[in-house]
């Protein structure tokens, strides 16, 4: 197009202040100047003041011995590990609860949001009630409530619920045998891989077949069989090459095995429930933004409410849903730091709490924390924005 532009007559004299190009450049220069000025001012001041205050700084503490314990560790950690290790433990715990929380909150939120638009009086009111109570109470209180509810609901150590297979459930958590691979387990892993590839291939084939013949295949069941059933079969055939580390009840505690602490359960539950209420409203707003004509058109083509929602309404609602949905994801991630209240060792508890207390290097620790959250957020919102630009409407 630019080539044709030259062919046209030169634009008649435009007063420069009315030329949108000139104007926009002027605006932008002004903005840049203001921002640069502010940054310069703050930076020069900070340097001066820092020198004056002679504050010790640096990241030397990273490799020092931490010397404290953490109740849930996804990677091996003991109280002789370093602060750096503690940081990773905290970060992984945060990512775990945030990742799972986002998944659950999204599913629940979409269900509630759609239910809020239901014509069924009861469903509608129940969803409204859910949103209005959960959304309007501070998360902290809810976490405490759930935590205490979980603790109260679970039996004492001595009255642990024993589930056959060496599983214990009590108010210290859920204890399961921890598997460790023996020789021959490689085959099982191999078949798992084969199963996954097979499932993908099968899906592809099923889609193709639907395109060709219109028949819809039981993709879910077959995939399940391939991914779970096949490796299981091989596992049995290979003579169950797994050794289990069974949890054992000691004087105070159950030792060994895999452990899910109640703090984690309460936090995950509380976060998902809470964020779902917000997501529900986001979803509702998005769906209402799609004009009614779209639903009508879809219905008149004989589409049922389910597919209509899935194929027509939600894709169009997405552009209204995504920006605030991203905000909610970020909120959930950041809210996971309320874990400190109920004793879940997330990043803030471990690193910005204990490590900071030990080392006293608040500025460094807080800066690292900010950087970590910022990274998580930027990645999340980058992915969401990529998706968003894909669902943008093409308009005339």
């Amino acid at each position: 197009m630019s080539t044709e532009l030259k062919a046209g007559s030169p634009p008649a004299s435009v007063p420069f202040y009315n030329d949108p190009k000139v104007r926009s450049i002027a605006y932008q220069i002004a903005l840049c100047l203001v921002v640069a000025g502010l940054i310069y001012g703050a930076a020069s001041n900070a340097i001066e003041n820092l020198q004056r205050a002679r504050i010790a700084s640096g990241f030397g503490f990273w490799d020092n011995i931490a010397g404290f314990d953490i109740s849930q560790t996804l990677i091996s950690y003991s109280n002789t590990s370093t602060y750096g290790r503690a940081f990773w433990v905290g970060l992984l715990n945060t990512l775990l609860v945030a990742g799972l929380g986002i998944i659950f909150a999204t599913i629940l939120g979409f269900i509630i949001g759609i239910a809020r638009l239901s014509k069924n009086w009861l469903v509608n009111k129940a969803a409204t009630f859910y949103v209005e109570t959960i959304r309007n109470l501070p998360l902290l209180l809810q976490l405490l409530f759930w935590y205490n509810a979980v603790l109260k609901a679970l039996p004492d150590l001595r009255d642990s619920v024993k589930i056959p297979g060496g599983i214990y459930l009590n108010n210290r958590g859920l204890f399961m045998p921890a598997p460790s691979a023996q020789a021959g387990f490689g085959f099982v892993e191999l078949t798992l891989l084969v199963g996954v590839i097979g499932a993908i291939a099968y899906r592809y084939w099923a889609r193709k077949r639907q395109e060709q013949t219109g028949q819809q295949a039981p993709v879910f069941l077959v995939s399940l069989g391939l991914i779970v059933g096949l490796p299981l079969l091989v596992f049995l055939l290979a003579g169950m090459p797994l050794k289990f580390d069974f949890p054992e009840a000691g004087r105070f505690n159950i030792a060994g095995g895999l452990e899910v602490v109640p703090e984690f359960a309460a936090l995950l539950f509380g976060l998902s429930i809470y964020t779902a209420a917000f997501i529900a409203e986001v979803v509702r707003a998005g769906i209402l933004a799609v004009s009614h004509g779209q639903t009508e058109a879809s219905y008149s083509l004989g589409m049922k409410p389910g597919p209509t929602l899935r194929l027509i309404i939600v894709p169009q609602a997405m552009r209204v849903i995504i920006p605030p949905l991203t905000s909610q994801y970020l909120n959930l991630t950041k809210n996971s730091s309320l874990a400190v209240a109920i004793g879940y060792p997330d990043l803030v508890q471990v690193f910005t709490g204990t490590v900071l207390n030990q080392t006293g290097q608040a500025v460094e620790v807080v800066a690292i924390t900010m950087a970590v959250y910022l990274t998580i957020s930027l990645v999340t919102s980058f992915l969401m924005n990529v998706y968003n630009s894909r669902v943008k409407l093409v308009e005339r």
């Binding site: 926009s24 001041n45 309007n136 209180l141 004009s291 920006p323 991203t326 909120n331 959250y373 930027l378």
Partner: protein
């Protein structure tokens, strides 16, 4: 069926007498009909109804018992709320709340000056009612009152002005409900316009403006408010010249307003995305300029679409006010948390009672907001039924 003769109506038909409009049938509802239709129409509905009823039966009696029937209503200190052999179940410990209530409301605000806070509450209430009550008289004056008179007067009133004989009250002494209300009110008022500007900036064609908006939004949204406030509270003296170092409450206010704006910007952006291009064109074609178009045509529609999200943000903001405790100012939740530490009232149920008060307060305020928003939504949605 006046011309019900279908045989005649087969091919040709001419209406002999015009039908006058009639009132709609009184819809066939009685309480039983309503119940059957709304609660027990399908098996699925029946199950749902029963489940939800059970849920209520499970929660409500326990709650009532704890908060009312088993609760302690009077006493001077912790001993009345203790579990004793004579009194094996103890519910909420209300005397604790009664004693601490002034602290919950005013924080450390000097006692002789507390009337100033009361006056502020009244002014604010008047402003809110005037603004939000649609049939209120002279709402144009209400806007001036709410956005000019109230802020200025409240500022003078609350922080004091020795010229007119009001002693200065440092903001570290503010607390409780007062702080919660002040911070959230300021945040709510500032974040919407700022958010709109940022959202427009993010959609702007000018790369620098766009870049700035994107960076601002993503960065502010990305870091936890807690850490920003932390930096603001203890590091700020390092960044600005000493004499400029602003008041702590102000720092928190700025932080919270910035955050809310970034969130608001995304919310508004979502609303803008839903406006069809035809609306922009229609506005341009009748000769409206960019800002007029935005103000009169685009934003009203975009904001309407996004009301639920705005409320989400406001509710989030209202609850985030609690983070001012990081700069050492105690909002309601924090005053409660501090109060329960008091050994004078140390008893098993003290905490829970305090939290119940907080829950009640937040529920009332946030529910108020969301209720009002939903009414507004409903009112606006009348426009596009069909």
């Amino acid at each position: 069926m006046s011309e019900g003769d279908l045989a005649v109506a087969r091919i040709n038909f001419v209406r002999q007498q015009t039908l006058e409009p009639q009132p709609p049938p009184s819809s066939m509802t009685g309480p039983v009909g309503w119940l059957r239709e709304n609660l027990f129409s399908t098996p699925f509905n029946i199950v749902l109804t029963i489940l939800i009823a059970l849920l209520f039966l499970w929660i409500v009696p326990d709650m009532l018992r704890y908060l009312i029937f088993d609760a302690v209503w009077s006493g001077a200190d912790r001993t009345v709320c203790l579990i004793t052999p004579e009194r094996p179940v103890v519910g909420a410990c209300w005397p604790f709340v009664f004693e601490r209530l002034p602290y919950f409301i005013y924080g450390s605000y000097p006692i002789p000056e507390r009337w100033r806070v009361d006056v502020f509450f009244v002014m604010l209430a008047v402003a809110i009612v005037w603004l939000l009550w649609l049939n209120a008289p002279r709402r144009d004056l209400g806007v001036i009152y709410a956005f000019v008179v109230t802020p200025v007067c409240s500022y003078i009133l609350l922080s004091g002005w020795s010229l007119i004989g009001l002693p200065k009250v440092d903001t570290v002494l503010w607390g409780g409900v007062l702080v919660t209300i002040v911070v959230s009110a300021v945040g709510i008022v500032i974040s919407l316009p700022l958010g709109i500007l940022l959202a427009l900036g993010r959609r702007s064609a000018m790369p620098a403006v766009k870049l700035f908006s994107v960076i601002f939004i993503e960065f502010v949204r990305g870091v936890p408010l807690v850490t920003v406030l932390f930096m603001a509270s203890v590091m700020l003296p390092l960044f600005v010249p000493e004499h400029l170092s602003p008041d702590k409450l102000l720092r928190a206010l700025i932080g919270i307003a910035m955050f809310a704006s970034a969130y608001m910007a995304e919310v508004v952006r979502a609303g803008l995305a839903a406006i069809p291009k035809g609306q922009f064109e229609g506005a341009q074609a009748v000769g409206l300029g960019y800002w007029q178009m935005m103000r009169l045509i685009v934003l009203p529609q975009a904001l309407k679409i996004t009301i639920p999200n705005i409320v989400n943000t406001y509710i989030g903001l209202f609850k985030d006010t609690t983070l001012v405790f990081i700069v050492g100012i105690f909002d309601l939740l924090r005053t409660i948390e501090v109060s329960r530490i008091d050994p004078k009232w140390a008893a098993p149920s003290t905490s829970a009672t305090g939290y119940a008060v907080a829950a009640f307060f937040y529920l009332i305020c946030c529910y108020g907001m969301s209720r009002y928003a939903q009414e507004t939504e409903k009112r606006l949605r009348k426009a596009d039924r069909r």
